[in-house]
Assembly symmetry: C14
Homo-oligomer: 92 residues x 14
């Protein structure tokens, strides 16, 4: 197994696992917040606009942690500096 | 075991695990939000349209984390840059 | 162990595990949403049609994450691009 | 260990684990929904027909994730394309 | 270790684990539904017949996931196509 | 390690683990149902006969999943077709 | 390591683990049922005889899953058919 | 490593693990039942004798699962039939 | 690694793990019972003597499972029959 | 496998896992805080500005733990001092 | 690796793990009991002396399981019979 | 694999894992405290300044445990005494 | 790897893990007790002195289990009898 | 791999893991106590000074378990007696 192969295999595996782990926490957190938002709207319909505005700002913040994971995965697949280094080093 | 085989095996395994992990969090989160939405509709039927609108926007946001995982899996199976590199390198 | 065998073994194993993992989250999430729907109908029978309509749209969304997993498994078994590549490469 | 043996062993193991995993989530989810249905009937007997109808449609949807797993297992045991390939390839 | 031995060992192990896993989810799910049914009967004795009928139809549905596992185990022990193949192949 | 030894060792280990796993779910499920039954009798003593009858039918259904496991274990110890095959094959 | 030693070692290990696993579920389930029984007696002292009778029948049913495990362990230690086979085969 | 050593090592390890596992479930189950008993006495002091009598019969039943484990451990340490067999076989 | 060393190492490790596992369940169970006892005394001070008497009898029963583990550990360290056998066998 | 390859592989793997782990806790914690914020707004609409201000300061503090992880990952990928050392040492 | 080294390494590792495991259960159990004691004092200040007396007797009982672990660790470090045996045997 | 490489690899891996683990507890703890703070403000708006002041002092204390982890990671990456030792020892 | 190195490596690893495990239980237990103490003070301010006195005595008792772990770690690092033995034995 | 390298690698890994584990328990415990403190202040504003004083003394006690871990990590990195021993022994 030469150098390129190992780097590629590790990059593929890590890219998948990172995004996979990054979908668990945010999805559960967003589900909880969304559930409470719907309950709050039902309880206080007059405040629906304030609630939904706060909800979506908050969801964006939670989503950011999922996006960190997705960004890392994309970097590992399409802009991996280690991979680029070995490609240049071996002149391929 | 030559280079191509390892890359292919890792890609297949990672594609499956990533989508598998990516179905757990979103499904639980959406289930929780949906359950609360139905409870909210029963409690405040007059707000059903606001509730369902907020629900579906929120579900789309949760679903996005599952879709990140699915996208990574699809890239690994059908547009894998590492795989393409080795195919070109070996001239196959 | 030659190349074809490893790819086939990994594909079989991954196909099973992916669908297996993909049944846990959606089933629990749908169970929770369905339970709350029935409770909501009992509490507010007049809204039964709105509740069941929202329920089934939501269930379809949750089910989609299970279907992503099933699709990946089916691709790995019946339309596996890596497998097809090696079959062509070895001329079998 | 020749090729056929490995494919057969992996297929047997995966078939069992997939169905085993596929029984946990759906059973728990259906148990929860069924429990709530009975509670709802006791609370609102007049809506028993609506509740049981919604219940069984929902249970069928949850059951579908268990069936995906069972289908994968059956394919792996009785219609395994990789197994068939190797049988033909070796002319057995 | 020859071919037959490995297939037999994997079949035995998988048969046991599959049924073992298949007893956890259904038993817990049925226990929950049954508990709620008894509570519902105590709360609304007049609906006892509707409740028990719905209960037993639901339990049968939950039980089905345990039966899928049991069926897979029985197939692996008594009607294992891979085992039969190797028996014929080796002429034993 | 010859063939007979491996088959015997795997059968012994699997028989134990299967029954061990098969005692966890049913015991917890039955405990929950029984607890609720006693609570229901205390709440509605006049329905004690209906409750206990439903309870014992339900317990039998839950117990069935434990019995599946016990049956598999007994088959593996006393009527193991793979073991019998090897005994005949080796003429012992 | 000869044949007898492996069979003996696996039997000893499996016997212990099986009974160990078999004590967790039943003990928790019985504890829950017993707790509820005491609560029910305090709530409805006049039904104490019905409650304790139902309790002990139910506990016996839960205990049965622990006894399945104990029986398997005893069979593996004192009436192990595989062990007896090897003892006869080797003429010891 | 000769035969005696392996059997002794496995027996020691299994004896410890079995009793260790056997202390978790019963202790938690008894703790729960005892807690509820004290609560029931505080709630209905006149029934204290019925409650404590039921409690101790129930605790003995739960304790039995811990004793099964302890018995297995004692058998493995002091009356291990496999160990005795090898001692006689080697004439030590 | 000679025989004595392995037996000693396994005995040391098992003695520690057994007591370690044996402290988790009883400590949690006793904590729960004690907590409820204090709550019961606060609720019904006149029954304090009955409650504390029942509490300490119950705690002793829970403690017994921890003591089983401690006894096994002490036997393995100070009165280990396997260790004594090997010491005599090797004449040390 | 030479030095560079190992450092690159470990850096890639660690970068992914760190960000993946760093998305779970913050997402759940933010989801919980956001849910309570929406509930608080519905309960006390007049305090919405104080609540949302406190919420966003707090979310930023929680987010900081996710950002620590992201920073570590970025350092490992783009400014890894160990990697730079080996690149200089080997003169590449 | 000679005999002394292995015994010393196992003793060190086991001593640490045993005390580590032995701190989890008792600390949680004592925390629960203490929390309830404070709640009981606030609810029934007149019984503070009875409550604290019962509390400290109970805490001592829970602490005993932690002390069993600590004693085992101390024996393994400072009065280890196996270690002493090997020291004498090798005449060091 | 020479000395420098191993130290670098372990440092990279540990730095990532430490910060990753250090984000879980603090994020959950801060989320819980923040959620309760918002609830308390909604319940007692007049005490908002006391509540937020106590909140931020407390959050800083919780954050400190995350910062310990981050500090350890930074030391391992940028001021690792073991790494510096080996760099000097090998004269690089 | 000579004797000293192994003993040192095991001592370092065990010292860290022991204190790490020893921080989880006590911290959670103390957090629970402290939370309840604050709630009790708010509920019954007149008993604040009794409550805080009982709290700190109880916290000290819980802390003792963490201190057992810390003591073991300190002994392993600074007063390790096994380490001292080998230092003397090798005359270093 | 020589002696120094192993000791350094184990010290680095242990230092990270210890602080990582030591951040989970204290952060959760402090979060729980802080949450309850804020709730208590909202409920009884007049006792705010007593509550916050008790809170910070208690938090310091919980923090102490995190600090034990941090101290162990710092000792392992900057004042490791085993490392110092080997440095002197090898004269480096």
């Amino acid at each position: 197994m030469d150098t390129d192969t190992l780097i590629a295999a590790v990059s593929i595996f890590t890219a998948g696992i990172t995004t996979g782990m990054g979908s668990i926490g945010p999805a559960l957190g967003e589900g909880r917040a969304l559930a409470q938002a719907l309950s709050a709207i039902a309880q206080q319909p007059d405040e629906a606009s304030t609630i939904t505005r706060t909800l979506f700002v908050g969801l964006a913040m939670i989503e950011s942690t999922a996006i960190y994971c997705f960004v890392i995965s994309m970097i590992l697949i399409f802009a991996n500096p280690f991979w680029n280094h070995f490609l240049q080093a071996t002149g391929k």
